[in-house]
């Protein structure tokens, strides 16, 4: 029956093989089949950005992707950022904490994943470039100012660490 399909993919470095319904969204697959609940779902129609993950290193909305489309892909979710051994936060996560870049925290994994892509491509972005990158993520709590601060802080810390 072709309404189901077996997929193989890597999530946060760990390989998985699962049979899924073709209609299952990647967001639901990650959340409810793999039990990685940090990828949040806010609208299911591709506007809010809460479900942003990286697919093969590029940001994507998990709600606008079918699980079957991720067959063979390497996926990074918010759970993949923290150091597994030490529990230490990724510098972007730490910057969001330090700059109070979140309130309810529901949109935050999406912002952090988008920032991860941004700083990978552009380690020293201008404010305009940060806004351009984050324009597809909605936050209803913070008014974005502290998020902008968080990204700036993360960039400067990562750059300082790289220089050292």
């Amino acid at each position: 029956m072709s309404t189901r399909k077996t997929i193989r993919l890597t999530v946060n470095g760990k390989p998985y093989e699962r049979e899924v319904e073709a209609r299952l969204t990647l967001a639901d697959f990650i959340r409810h089949e793999l039990h990685l609940g940090g990828t949040h779902v806010g609208c299911e129609h591709g506007i809010c950005g809460a479900c942003t993950i990286l697919i093969d290193g590029s940001s994507a909305r998990a709600c606008l992707t079918l699980a079957v489309q991720a067959d063979g892909a390497s996926i990074t979710t918010i759970e993949g950022l923290r150091n597994r051994e030490t529990g230490q936060l990724h510098p972007i996560q730490q910057a969001f904490v330090d700059a109070h870049g979140l309130q309810c925290g529901f949109c935050t994994p999406g912002f952090i994943m988008t920032t991860l892509e941004l700083l990978g491509e552009n380690p020293d972005p201008t404010d305009e470039e940060i806004k351009e990158a984050l324009g597809g993520n909605l936050c209803r709590c913070t008014g974005y100012q502290s998020i902008l601060d968080s990204v700036r802080l993360a960039a400067s810390r990562i750059n300082t660490a790289t220089a050292a």
């Binding site: 809010c48 969001f96 309810c104 209803r140 709590c141 913070t142």
Partner: protein, 804 residues
Amino acid sequence: MAIDIPTRTDQLPTSATRFIGKAVNRIEDPALVSGTVEFIDNLSLPGMLHCAILRSPHPHARITAIDASAALELPGVEAVLTGEDVERWCDPCFTAPEGWGNYCLAVGKVRFVGEPVVAVAASSRYIAEDALELIQVEYEVLDPVANPDEAMASGAPLVFENRGTNVIQSRTYTWGEVDRVFAEADRVVSRQFRWNRVGANPTETFGCICQWDLADNSLTCRGAYQTPRFMAIGRAASLRLPANKVKIISHAQGGGFGGKGGPRGTDIAALLSRKCDGRPVKYIEDRMEYLLAGGGQSWDRYYDAAIALKADGTVTGFKVRLVDDQGAGAEGYGTISAAKPLAAFTGNYRIEAAFYDLTLVATNRAPTYPYRGYGPPPHNLVLESLMDVAARELALDPAELRRRNYIGPEQFPYTVPSGNEYDSGNYAAVLDRVLELSDYKALRESQAKARAEGRLVGIAVVSTVEPGVFDWNAYATVGVPGVGVPEGVKVAVDVFGNITVAIGFNLQGQGQFTVAAQVVADYLGVEMNAVKVTTASTDVALPHFGQGGSRLGVAVTGAILGACDKLRQTFCRVVAHVMQTEPDQVELMNGRLQLKAAPAHGMTIAEVAGLMLSRSDLLPPGVEPCPEATFVWVSPNRNLPDDQGRCRSYLTAAAATHVVQVEIDRDTGQVKILGYYIVDDCGTRLNPANVEGQLQGGVAQGVGAALYEEYVYDPQCQPLVSTFVDYLMPTIHEVPMTVKDHIVTPSPIAPLGAKGCGEGAIHTTPAALLCAINDALAPLGLECRETPASPRRLWNLLHGQHGH
């Protein structure tokens, strides 16, 4: 024992506060940035089923037949719930005023598009949605009531037939000699305003998992619950259960802002569980459900208002007539939000008389729910817009007109005509600082230059008061009984000196867990990481309310201070007994119980707790081996209102003035915010970063309400906004990065001098933006008096002017 709640930080038992007043990192955040917080949709229970809801496509129709047989045959479907079940097992939700509530599923007829009609429980949400497509519902379409004019017309169709009218409530309040001040006025400025529906839209929609215990006939609901205890009582009433048989477990919430209507979804999931032999049923509202009818619609208002002035600009009177389209009933307490302005009806000003005429009307739009601020955002927009019109007519600078009318710093406590007492403030100081911060003179010069070039640049200086720390008494005249909203905590010290704070609410974003930890750590002299804050379910929690009414930061601070003071007194007794002295010879200071006369002699908190838990032989008579204390805080000195609603309601009065400069593109109607400056005064800032976050977040929501967001209905009452493609919440591009400063006038009566600060910015920003837009339009003789001031609306205004 007498409990002492400090109103100043220097009254705390510490030589210097280490956490309070500092922008310490939030204890909430490491888990939130890691994605490991258990929002409700992250939880699965064994045997859990998933609910999907079939909703009405009609604004008003009689249900003549429902056939769900095909749905029941679909593999994976366990149960179908209809109005028939609901009528048998349920009552309509209670409302204020009473008798304007709907059942959780439509019984007999539907009253708005999106009203739940049939619900399905199935093995997955996907299958549950498949099942909805197999359900046949026959409707006899009725004429809808699309707006208040239609609703109040004679012979109008009735939304609730048994009421005999569509008017939910109509009443007036008269405060002072209104007729006289208007008769004696040198100038009366009056205008009409239309505030279109907007709403909360937290990033997480509502969700719950409900489980009916058939043996015990009790119900457990886990979910994204704001105000859990209130929810438990409401569910008990609608589901006909004793209140002690409903247990609410509140999970972290992805935002709230008031509009996270949980009652319907909870009742539906609970009844499905009952129908499925007690299997847990999860309901996760999706965004389209939320936007259609999920509790995110608020403030659908028509205003006709006037102020009376003396020639010198002294404002003497303020009259407001409000017709408020409540939508289909009063289930969401939209009614009482119309009464909230009583707490600060006349804003920052010494206005001697005021009048409020409220008409709350039922229509076939979706029911309205609370939204952050709960009423004052539109009210302040009306008052501040009138102030600006008056300033223009009097050729006075709007800042100057406001300054002339401010309540003076020496006049506090100040009782406003509508009855509330403002605790403290210094409005002129706030104004001075924001004019300096914004370089107001330079802004006006740049405006003059822009105007000379034909550009439409406008500036606003808008002041508001934020009533903080709500109390029931503010709403007594619209049907809410009582005085004193409780917030209870338990503070427990373990044998190692770690501290657990048990509260009745869960995370929602405002940072109250952190505030709680800051206060406990400074009071008991421990590190913040020694404090664990945990949420008690409603069956064991102390009386509490949770988030709401710009209150919780202050309330939880008060509750913790009360519990800590009880602990301190107990510890003093224990230590006095051990050291063979009197309790009043012992003091708590920097985490040690020490002899006042010889501070080197004493015990740490951990030592005292350890002793209490392990050496009952050393305890004084009457002291239990329990280093724990509970305290339920209520606002001090509240009272019942008189027949005009006058009482001491909200405890604190924070204040702010925003200065904003905007430019309107003549040809597109688009508004660009050129600069945004805020100075506020919310007394002691317990965590300045939290306060700034509340301010900036309120600005963003204010920008949304003023410029972008709107629930649009067509003339047949069909909603035209059901996705985020059309409900336009501002992104990072639309929200200005504001320049902020503050002054501090501590509250003399609130815990640690802190004032409620969660709503001030949304109280102010819409008014500021509309006033700035109208300042920009002033040279053309145009005014925009409707929100949102969308490009289409502004272009229409400009288009009329230019006769395109």
